[in-house]
């Protein structure tokens, strides 16, 4: 298992990540505090897709005392968005709506340029624009959603970035991010730029409030360093809430844009989706007859994960699907056809909203505020 901000490989053991990263599990007590604010728990909390945190309790304590928080998350625009990327964004939208709070969303076109030898700034800036459309398509409202394009908005980030960078030694950066002698100095500096949006709300509004960062757990090393520095420069430590990775359609491993045949992209067309689903790895048997007799294994099935993460919100129906699978009542073909249909309906809606987002995207740009 390898989990770093730049690489996720192998079968991810989330319990072990909590121990190794030193984060806290989302306890039933904490979840019920969230529930009392949001009404019914969001599917991603109920199913422990978000499973770990840092300082969520502190953020809720402050909230109870009248200190709001802002949300901060982002995306490295190296290519098109797949539905694994949408998982934490959907959750972020839920939290935004329930807590009526602002989101800062960073598109790190500079980072993706620096870490990929072959990338050009033109490409990464292009993908930043494209990826922003996907975010907006989910239903974020412009009045509360501030999109930061690093290369365009560096002037807004730079003073905070310098304050952070001054307080991170190369030695700390190396041990936190695994930098080597061959790492370029842009990459070495970059963690300070990812830290800046944690603190930008105070600069824009004068309000000193904590940031809560919903993101996949691979980003945690960034925030450890940022959390050490925050109090030294007069800010709250950024809090985090960590999610699991949506698996790809292959055998194991997270959904990854670098393996397009096992990823469902938001712009995929229905035939392509059907084909990818048809080729997906499942827990099925060699023959239909055998499967009817012995049942299949949903715990290793990539398709089942799609129901679990996104496409079966009803717990009872999810359990029923699992039961039918295990006892051989429902074969993989039927299950795949169901998910392909759900996916294509979802994507059709998404693509329509994404097209409309082109007319309003500038309203979300932090520079326009």
């Amino acid at each position: 298992m390898v989990v770093t901000p730049w690489e996720v490989k192998g079968k991810v053991d989330y319990e072990r990540l909590i121990r190794e990263f030193g984060t806290q599990p989302l306890t039933p007590e904490l979840l019920s505090r969230v529930e009392s604010r949001t009404g019914k728990l969001h599917l991603q909390l109920e199913r422990q897709i978000f499973f770990s945190h840092r300082d969520l309790d502190t953020v809720l304590d402050l909230y109870d005392k009248g200190v709001k928080f802002v949300l901060y998350t982002g995306r490295g625009p190296s290519g098109p968005v797949h539905i694994g990327h949408l998982v934490p964004w959907i959750f972020t939208l839920h939290i935004q709506q329930k807590f009526n709070t602002r989101l800062y969303f960073q598109l790190t076109d500079d980072e993706k340029y620096l870490i990929d030898d072959d990338a050009t700034l033109k490409e990464t800036s292009h993908w930043a624009y494209e990826n922003a459309l996907d975010l907006i398509a989910l239903g974020f409202k412009p009045e509360d959603t501030f999109i930061i394009y690093d290369t365009e908005d560096i002037d807004l980030l730079y003073d905070i970035t310098l304050q952070v960078a001054k307080r991170i030694t190369y030695s700390t950066a190396r041990s936190s991010f695994g930098f080597q002698d061959s790492t370029n100095i842009g990459w070495v500096f970059w963690p300070a730029i990812q830290a800046a949006p944690c603190f930008i709300h105070k600069k824009l509004t004068g309000e000193n409030v904590p940031a809560l960062i919903p993101a996949a757990i691979d980003q945690d090393p960034y925030w450890r360093v940022t959390r050490d520095i925050a109090p030294k420069i007069g800010y709250y430590k950024p809090a985090q809430i960590h999610c699991r990775f949506l698996p790809g359609l292959g055998a194991g491993g997270k959904m990854s844009a670098s393996m397009p045949e096992t990823s469902i992209f938001t712009m995929d067309q229905p035939d392509a989706v059907k084909k990818k689903i048809w080729n997906a790895y499942t827990g099925g048997r060699g023959t239909a007859a055998e499967q009817r007799k012995l049942g299949a294994d949903p715990t290793v099935c990539s398709i089942f994960q799609y129901y679990f993460f996104l496409f079966e919100e009803d717990a009872a129906r999810l359990a029923e699907r699992e039961r039918k699978c295990k006892v051989g009542e429902m074969l993989c073909g039927e299950c795949k056809m169901d998910i392909a249909e759900k996916l294509n309906r979802f994507l059709q809606n998404h693509q329509e909203r994404r097209e409309k987002a082109k007319d309003v995207i500038e309203q979300y740009h932090i520079k326009r505020k």
Copy 2:
């Protein structure tokens, strides 16, 4: 002897710097090529105050073929400007006027913040403004002088900075700049920001021309790294012309703002100047009688260096002053009174022009162009 971008200590051996840094001496042949363009050689070339270069010959070759160059220099705004800082700026103005070319001038308030533990961004930005006034007071014209304030103008520099940073490994940066594990990551990144103005002219005008950098030789390590990268990203290597340091008023060492009692600042008032000059280290003897008999040593005299660098343009009169000193015809008191008067006349004019610069400073800002 220590000569780095951040520290100059001991008696500087300029011949040795040429050898160790691998630069070229300004040969008589090259000087006569310059002279054929500028008319009479500038005092700072004639007296070898500018003594070394990289690619000045190439810049002149290109110029002969119709490819102009731009000038680029700058200042780390850590405090007030002293007259040692003015030396290369005066020369830069001369080259600008004779070659009718544009100057980019970088005020590195970000760098000074990053490298000085106690500095605040507010202070370094304040000094950036104050130091710009000194530059403008020398007579630079707004139409050809583009001042860059790093923290304000980072958005103009950032794309080029990223292109450069991507091509400098930490290992290269460490060996070029002496970075250590305890160096902060802002400082590690910073050389890429100093490189950006070398290449900004193409972005602003579409013209690909080389930059010629007149600066004290301690800045050379920056340009070595930048020169390696320039052709890889489609630019000419920046050329340089290196000057000596104006000595301070003490015994040895360059004029340094950290030793204010041995530095003449542009805002010093007449009485302060007289006092500093009166306390200056000279090559004089213990008593007037002894000095009249044995003469003094102008080669170690800080006052004589002031005539040499700035305040005696006439070579014959300088030689006469040297002769009188050596044979004891002129004592230190007289020489000091002369220089104090010249200095105060110079500073009075400078301060008047500096005051007027406050009304026009925005015309020089690169953002206003």
